[in-house]
């Protein structure tokens, strides 16, 4: 024991970090902030630490080469002892880290912590969010599989739409004219050196400012922030009723971090690692690429926006969002902190959360994507076939073989790109059906060139039978009674 103390003294005489560390540990925090609401920042840091460790472990095996990366992932998954678990930890750690960063941000926003004098802390927080998203995207690329390959194509397509510099930016992003070896190498460099370096630097400054300026006090309704007297009031609050950070605040941080790490480990153990999916071979086109979980909402937005709005929304939307986030502490740097008196702030958080949740949920089953194998693999339920005439059965065959089923569901089977056709005959008359099939319109391709008259007749004869027993098929009311079909 005495030896340890002697060595410690010897080291500290030279390093001289003991005093500032003690000062940091003992720095007073407002009593109410030793709360479970204040644990997310430290938990994000713990998740990041796990990412650093597991990332280095993966780099021991991973080969950042377009020709070998996928194979090295297979080796990690199957040949290296517990390689699958380390991959699982890294993949789940990424998801948890992003989720915690978002929760941290929402908490900070609701508690008004971005107001004076913590504006710069908030701005560095925005940088940290962007860097974390950058880590998630570049990490998804390093899992070099089909999704990564086509995901890069999507990134390139979006970047290319930026006026003037777009095409040049694509080449810089890809490291060449196509997605290939140079692309993976530069994403590796970004994921492993550049972005983590920036993350560590900004995280250091972010935490340093929390220590220098003090943790945000628990917001009390009616206790307004004023630039003139805030510093004094805060000093009084911490020095008269404050408690030392260690142990009052830190034990909750420690417990929550441990819970998060345990949850990551649990997910990694139970669900295993993510992918890789098929080989990143562009010749394998039988694939439907999907982004990782945290980019699913974007996938949905890109499907649902009207085409002509897409480029402006893609280019201007992120810029506006960034400006709003950066301007926030300057526009509302003073005043009320409590969420109880900031209904718009609460509504905004709810709106963003519900919006992202809804888009993510929609992207999970992607109703806008055609079901590419429905024409050969999906059944037409028998209730739509029994008792039909040979011509109508012939039409059902046309329906399947011409791939109508890829976009139109019957009895909940098939694609949802177009409307379900279970009761279409109630909505459209025979003539309208012929017109719709031949000329298309309303987001449906025209089939006039691909169907001969016999096929069209059969198809429409089949579709005319698609109405509930209780409802009759639509008739053309302009025709005399006898001529109505």
């Amino acid at each position: 024991m005495r030896l340890i103390r002697t060595v410690g003294k010897w080291v500290d005489q030279r390093l001289q970090l003991g005093a500032p560390m003690r000062e940091t540990m003992d720095h007073p925090i407002p009593r109410e902030t030793a709360s479970w609401a204040y644990v997310f920042g430290s938990a994000a840091m713990s998740a990041f630490a796990l990412q650093l460790v597991t990332g280095i472990l993966l780099a021991l095996i991973y080969v950042p080469s377009a020709s070998e990366a996928w194979n090295s992932l297979q080796i990690l998954n199957h040949d290296v002892s517990l390689g699958w678990f380390i991959r699982g930890l890294h993949g789940w750690g990424s998801n948890f880290m992003l989720a915690i960063v978002l929760i941290h941000m929402a908490q900070v926003f609701l508690f008004g912590a971005y107001k004076f004098p913590r504006e710069l802390t908030w701005i560095f927080g925005i940088f940290l969010l962007l860097l974390t998203l950058g880590m998630a995207f570049t990490g998804q690329v390093l899992r070099f599989d089909q999704d990564a390959y086509w995901g890069l194509g999507i990134g390139a397509s979006i970047s290319s739409r930026i006026p003037l510099v777009g095409p040049a930016l694509v080449k810089l992003l890809l490291g060449g004219p196509i997605i290939a070896g140079a692309t993976l190498s530069r994403f590796f460099a970004f994921h492993v050196f550049v972005i983590p370096g920036l993350l560590i630097a900004f995280m250091g400054l972010h935490v340093l400012m929390v220590l220098k300026l003090g943790i945000n006090e628990w917001p009390m309704p009616g206790r307004l922030v004023r630039r003139s007297d805030y510093m004094e009031k805060y000093h009084e609050m911490t020095h008269t009723q404050g408690v030392p950070f260690v142990p009052y605040g830190v034990w909750k941080d420690a417990v929550f971090s441990a819970v998060i790490l345990l949850a990551i480990a649990g997910c990694a153990f139970y669900f295993g690692p993510f992918g890789p999916s098929g080989q990143p071979d562009p010749r394998v086109i039988q694939t439907a690429p999907r982004p990782d979980y945290f980019f699913l909402w974007l996938y949905a937005v890109l499907s649902l926006l009207p085409p002509q709005l897409e480029t402006p929304a893609l280019l201007i939307g992120p810029a506006i969002a960034l400006i709003v986030l950066l301007a926030l502490p300057f526009v509302s740097g003073e005043g009320e902190k409590s969420w109880k008196r900031r209904p718009i702030a609460v509504l905004m958080i709810l709106l963003v959360a519900v919006g992202l949740g809804t888009f993510t949920n929609m992207a999970d089953h992607a109703p806008w994507s055609p079901v590419m194998d429905a024409s050969t693999g999906a059944a037409i339920p028998s209730k739509f076939l029994s008792g039909r005439t040979p011509l109508q059965i012939q039409g059902a065959l046309v329906f399947a073989s011409k791939q109508c089923h890829n976009c139109h569901a019957l009895g909940d089977i098939g694609g949802q790109r177009g409307p379900a056709l279970d009761a279409v005959a109630v909505r459209l008359t025979s003539d309208q059906l012929v017109r719709q099939v031949l000329q298309g319109g309303g987001n449906m391709p025209a089939y006039g060139k691909n169907l001969n008259p016999a096929e069209t007749t059969a198809l429409v004869a089949f579709i005319e039978t698609l109405h509930p027993a209780s409802q009759r098929a639509a008739k053309d009311a302009s025709l005399p009674l006898g001529a109505r079909r």
Partner: protein, 182 residues
């Protein structure tokens, strides 16, 4: 006082010297970083390349062809094997389409039964001549410039087709307004 200004002069001299060395080092670094842009198109990747004999592409059909991207490096592995759709219209006239959807670059599939190209990502669809049929794409499929030399289909290839690329718009197939009627 004179000694201090002498030191300050040395400080300024040192800073200026460092600045000059920084610029000297910075120029090659920037040049290195910009190499994806400066490696010329003509001498490098944008080249005529063979897709094989016209016999492989029967008249009236659309078939998948692949080529190794010009200028590919050994570390590219399979990523340099680029697919494309070759449509032999009538035995003499061809169209060669990029695999990438004009929306966001996903691989479009040719559906011979419905004579449509369909994209599995966001549901873009194109007619057999590459023009836009429906869905989010704002234009038709990207086309390669092609020529037939000694019974072999050649295309000018080398660059990923993206909506912003002017080369991809060279032979743009775009039918404005309504889709073609039967």
């Amino acid at each position: 006082m004179s000694d201090l200004s002498r030191r300050q002069m040395f400080l300024k001299l040192g800073a200026a010297f460092n600045g000059a060395v920084g610029v000297l080092l910075g120029i090659p670094i920037v040049g290195y970083l910009l190499s994806p842009l400066t490696r010329g198109r003509n001498g490098g990747y944008d080249r005529w390349i063979s897709l094989g004999s016209t016999d492989q592409f029967p008249a009236g059909q659309t078939r998948l062809a692949t080529y190794r991207n010009p200028g590919a490096s050994p570390t590219d592995g399979e990523t340099a094997e680029i697919p494309c759709w070759v449509r032999n219209i009538d035995g003499n006239n061809f169209q060669v389409f990029a695999i990438n959807c004009a929306h966001l670059g996903c691989p479009v599939r040719w559906c011979p039964q419905s004579h449509l190209f369909m994209c599995p990502c966001h549901g873009g669809a194109y007619y057999e001549d590459g023009s836009r049929a429906s869905g989010p794409p704002e234009r038709g499929l990207f086309e390669y410039a092609f020529k037939i030399v000694d019974g072999t289909v050649h295309i000018k290839a080398g660059e990923l087709s993206t909506p912003g690329l002017s080369a991809a718009n060279r032979s743009l197939v775009q039918i404005k307004g309504q889709p073609p009627c039967a």
